[in-house]
């Protein structure tokens, strides 16, 4: 399930501001209270794909350590896309919550 929403998760993490891959994954962990466990490298194909789709813009910077670092940020299109995905998600989430509210908890017959 997590894989199907990775694009939205990464876009949401970058809504806070520009960040490099490691910072994005840390932000996801922090904001989800560690609920999303995924191989950290998985973030890069997502970042590359979103950049290719024009939802993110990347630029090279030099970190304090002297290493070259690619920093990503949301483009205008990316912000719009995030807004749309968020609206769809909230609608879906409300619908599921409504379903659960009307159901009794299931008990095992044994």
């Amino acid at each position: 399930m997590l894989k199907g929403h990775l694009d939205m998760i990464v876009l949401a993490a970058l809504a806070a501001g520009p960040a490099h891959g490691y910072a994005v994954i840390e932000e996801i962990k922090r904001r989800s209270s560690g609920a999303f466990e995924l191989p950290e490298g998985t973030i890069y194909p997502v970042l590359h794909r979103l950049e290719h789709a024009g939802l993110l813009a990347g630029r090279w910077t030099t970190a304090e350590s002297g290493r070259r670092r690619r920093v990503y940020e949301l483009t205008k299109r990316g912000k719009r896309e995030l807004g749309e995905r968020r609206a769809v998600w909230e609608q879906f989430s409300e619908a599921i919550a409504g379903l659960f509210k009307g159901s009794r908890s299931w008990q095992s017959p044994t």
Partner: protein
């Protein structure tokens, strides 16, 4: 000789898997190195081989990562080929128009060589329109395919189909350029060296360069599709 550390080993393995796209391999090497060393620096144990091993473990399998990155690489390459195809056809059209305008301005080079010329003109027109139709078809085909999160044999098949369509378009464009070459030779064969031949010759050179660029770009894409065959597709 000193053993390479686990981070260098992991990054090297990833770069080797991405060798089909040198720019992507270089970029991923930098990004992965930065990520892993940053993780080591943030390790509560304060670095060392154990922290490096943990960072590599958390980073994930380089082979699986390469399969996910290969899709982005192929999608980017396919879009590049699409752009080269459309721009190439547009440039050939502009070059053709420029040549015809220059003919209209020079009275001595009127007509295009009798019956042979008429046949070549027909072939040229058909080939050029065919190139346009095929290019648009290819563009629509690849534009409507969903880019999967990781490389699948189905996506590789789609890119191959796109390469075949582009090749057909390039073939038609080359036929059109050859037709233009024949017509230009028929016209210029009757002139005796003048500055007026400059535009036809330059425009022909532009057409030939566009056709060459298109073939080179399709060849590059086909090579990349073949090279990604070494990465196990994740179904």
């Amino acid at each position: 000789m000193a053993e390479p550390d686990v981070i260098t080993e992991c990054v090297d393995r990833l770069a080797r898997k991405l060798a089909f796209d040198p720019a992507l391999a270089r970029r991923m090497r930098r990004e992965a190195e930065d990520h892993l060393w940053e993780d080591v620096a943030a390790d509560p144990a304060g670095g060392g081989p154990e922290a490096e091993r943990r960072a590599v473990e958390k980073f994930g399998d380089p082979d699986a990562l390469a399969a996910q990155l290969a899709v982005v690489s192929l999608a980017r390459q396919a879009r590049g080929v699409g752009v080269v195809t459309i721009c190439g056809i547009a440039a050939v059209f502009v070059a053709m128009k420029a040549r015809l305008t220059s003919y209209a301005a020079t009275e001595y080079a009127s007509g295009h060589g009798g019956r042979l010329g008429d046949i070549v003109v027909s072939i040229d027109r058909c080939a050029f329109w065919l190139a346009i139709v095929v290019a648009i078809g290819g563009w629509v085909y690849i534009g409507t395919r969903r880019v999967p999160p990781a490389l699948t044999s189905e996506y590789r098949r789609q890119i191959r189909r796109f390469a075949v369509v582009c090749l057909a378009g390039a073939g038609a464009l080359i036929a059109s350029v050859i037709g233009d070459g024949v017509l230009t030779s028929l016209r210029l064969g009757r002139t005796r060296g003048s500055l007026d031949v400059l535009i036809p010759v330059v425009s022909m050179a532009i057409e030939a360069a566009c056709a060459g660029a298109l073939v080179r770009s399709i060849r590059g894409m086909a090579q990349r599709v073949t090279a990604t065959g070494r990465i196990a597709p994740l179904e």
